[in-house]
């Protein structure tokens, strides 16, 4: 627009008009974004603060709350079951989530290479386990993992390996949960990595090739650095998700009606399972809220440590 030909007064008037228009538009924008903040205040922020308040009380959910100070937290630090559940949860992070992310990354690289055919099919086939409900998956693998007549042990015996009691023994319960988790989540992580790979500008590859770079060099100096934010993002979300592991372990290791969750020797007891049972079966709401807060702090700590280790990486 030919603003240069306007006098100062005219320009000021126009600025005012645009400002009024912007403000009017701004009002629309506030209206558009407000539902999130209203809902989050009621169903996100308030419960968060209320949970903190609750963790300093003894409460069965019905009778009046009783202030107990830090007693719940003190009790927590010497509660072996809680720390065993934390151990199980971390075990499952390294036994399931880490392998799942590595396999997903490898598969994403393979599918993304331009000489592979049938990409649509493989992408869909790898993602399919993720659309199944964890409860259904638990029922199916419960049958697959049967000790005497399960398909897995049968397949193992066919190649001369003696089967084990996957879900009944304390030693194999966590590996079983890990296998199911890898089965269900690898395709999801792969899609995220694949989306990241596909957003890398092809011209960068072309330019590197014109300059005579080897495929390996291109991988380490173009692909990996550009994919890195996607990987960091996905790992942090996986830490947050894995620390709250619930659905698959609860179906494989102790049904919802059982009084002692976690299967044999509680080997499959995750932290959120313990929180769930403490609050809603043993009606010890304050103590469960304290557990949830300690878990929250651990999640923040792990995410922060991971993020910092990535920032300091000398290869960057």
């Amino acid at each position: 627009m030919a603003t240069t030909t306007l006098t100062t007064g005219q320009r000021k008037a126009q600025d005012r008009r645009t400002a009024v228009k912007e403000a009017k538009r701004g009002a629309w924008a506030y209206a558009f974004i407000s539902p999130f903040y209203l809902l989050y205040a009621v169903f996100g922020l308030f419960p968060l603060l209320y949970g903190l308040w609750l963790s300093f009380h003894k409460w069965d959910g019905i009778s009046p709350m009783k202030w107990v100070g830090a007693a719940n937290y003190v009790k927590l630090f010497s509660d072996d079951i809680f720390w065993y559940a934390i151990y199980n949860t971390i075990w499952l992070f390294f036994g399931a989530t880490v392998p799942q992310l590595i396999i997903a990354l490898l598969l994403a690289f393979i599918i993304n290479s331009n000489f592979i055919r049938g990409k649509d099919f493989f992408r869909a086939a790898f993602f399919a386990p993720n659309v199944a409900s964890a409860v259904a998956v638990g029922l199916i693998f419960g049958a697959l993992f049967g000790e005497r007549y399960g398909m897995l042990n049968y397949a193992l015996s066919a190649v001369g390996i003696k089967g084990v009691d996957w879900l009944g023994s304390a030693a194999w319960l966590k590996p079983s949960i890990a296998m199911v988790t890898v089965w269900q989540w690898t395709g999801y992580s792969m899609i995220i990595f694949l989306a990241g790979l596909q957003s890398i500008n092809l011209e960068l590859y072309e330019a590197a090739k014109v300059d005579g770079a080897e495929t390996r060099d291109i991988f380490w100096s173009i692909t990996m650095p550009l994919l890195r934010p996607v990987i960091v993002f996905q790992v942090i979300l996986s830490i947050i998700g894995a620390m709250q592991n619930f659905d698959i372990p609860v179906i494989l290791a102790g049904g919802t009606q059982s009084s002692a969750p976690g299967g044999t020797d509680r080997a499959g007891l995750t932290t959120v399972m313990l929180i769930y049972w403490t609050a809603f079966k043993y009606t010890n709401f304050g103590y469960a809220a304290a557990m949830a807060f300690v878990l929250f702090i651990l999640i923040i700590a792990f995410s922060y440590l991971y993020n910092r280790s990535q920032g300091r990486n000398p290869t960057e």
Partner: protein, 295 residues
């Protein structure tokens, strides 16, 4: 911009680079396809096993070798399943909750995404940073107090807790903002504004038709998430007639002596609808996911 020449060039150099890729030797190709096909077999076998096992009685399932082909007891299992739980009722509940959630989520998230992508207003960046930060807050600390909030609202055993808190969620808004920011040119909206259209009209008539791919991907993600949601419905739903499918199925596992074939048939009932939806929409879904990650 000389997009045509650029496009032509890159196509040419792409086909040239095909021949130069080092992994593409015959042995390398064999290994890569073996990995892909092997993985596809592992990911799909349990689905096949589900279909097969749902047609057998326990006596036939607990044999060696375990059955790998279909049996004749699908109807018997089906009748038993209907005795064990109100299957069709739960399926309807799951379907209704997932559908209502999806429609409302698409509306509120795309509206807010539009607000963040195409408006300049005081506090925008701070508000958006806050929204992103909430994504990082683990749900577990809200689990117990949320239950109490729902109880005080009188929402236990209703659909409200399973639908309302999620309709304007941070992930969906972030998702839509990224897409709208990249896909909707500003002059499109300016043209409409000069014609005197107000902002909601612009959203409805101009933005929505352009963002269909991102809406489709978000729709599938939301529907899948709600369909499979387990922890919170387990807490909220008390009466059997209100159960969603995952909650109803979880009771199957703990009923002692339930036929294995019946359990697996129930699992198949939960998986088949959502898997069909995924297969039908898989192409749009993947395209939408990739589009969302462009930024």
């Amino acid at each position: 911009m000389a997009t045509t020449t650029q496009g032509g060039l890159s196509v040419k150099s792409k086909s040239r680079s095909n021949n130069r890729d080092r992994l593409a030797g015959p042995v390398g190709m064999f290994v890569l396809y073996a990995v892909l096909i092997g993985t596809a077999l592992i990911t799909s076998f349990p689905f096949y096993y589900t279909l097969v096992t749902s047609t057998h009685r326990t006596a036939a399932i607990l044999t060696l070798p375990p059955p790998l082909w279909f049996g004749n007891d699908l109807l018997t299992n089906y009748n038993d399943l209907l005795h064990a739980l109100p299957f069709w009722n739960s399926l309807f509940n799951s379907f209704a909750i997932s559908s209502i959630s999806t429609v409302l989520t698409l509306f509120f998230c795309s509206l807010a995404g539009y607000g963040f992508a195409k408006f300049r207003f005081p506090g925008r960046d701070g508000l958006f940073a806050f929204l992103l930060a909430t994504l990082m807050v683990p749900g577990v600390i809200g689990l117990i107090p949320s239950f109490i909030v729902m109880r005080n609202l009188g929402w236990i055993d209703t659909w409200n807790p399973l639908i309302i808190p999620g309709i304007a969620n941070a992930f969906g808004i972030f998702w839509m903002r990224q897409y709208i920011d990249a896909a909707v040119p500003a002059d499109m909206m300016d043209a409409a504004r000069i014609d005197g259209a107000h902002e909601f009209r612009i959203y409805w008539n101009i933005i929505v038709p352009v963002i269909i791919p991102a809406l489709a991907a978000l729709a599938i993600l939301t529907f899948m998430g709600k369909w499979n949601d387990f922890q919170f419905p387990l807490l909220i739903l008390k009466e059997e007639t209100k159960y969603t499918l995952p909650v109803a199925l979880s009771t199957l596992r703990s009923l002692r002596g339930t036929e294995i074939g019946v359990q697996i048939l129930g699992a198949a009932g939960a998986i088949i609808p959502i898997l069909t939806l995924f297969i039908l929409a898989s192409r749009q879904f993947m395209a939408g996911l990739t589009a969302g990650a462009v930024k």
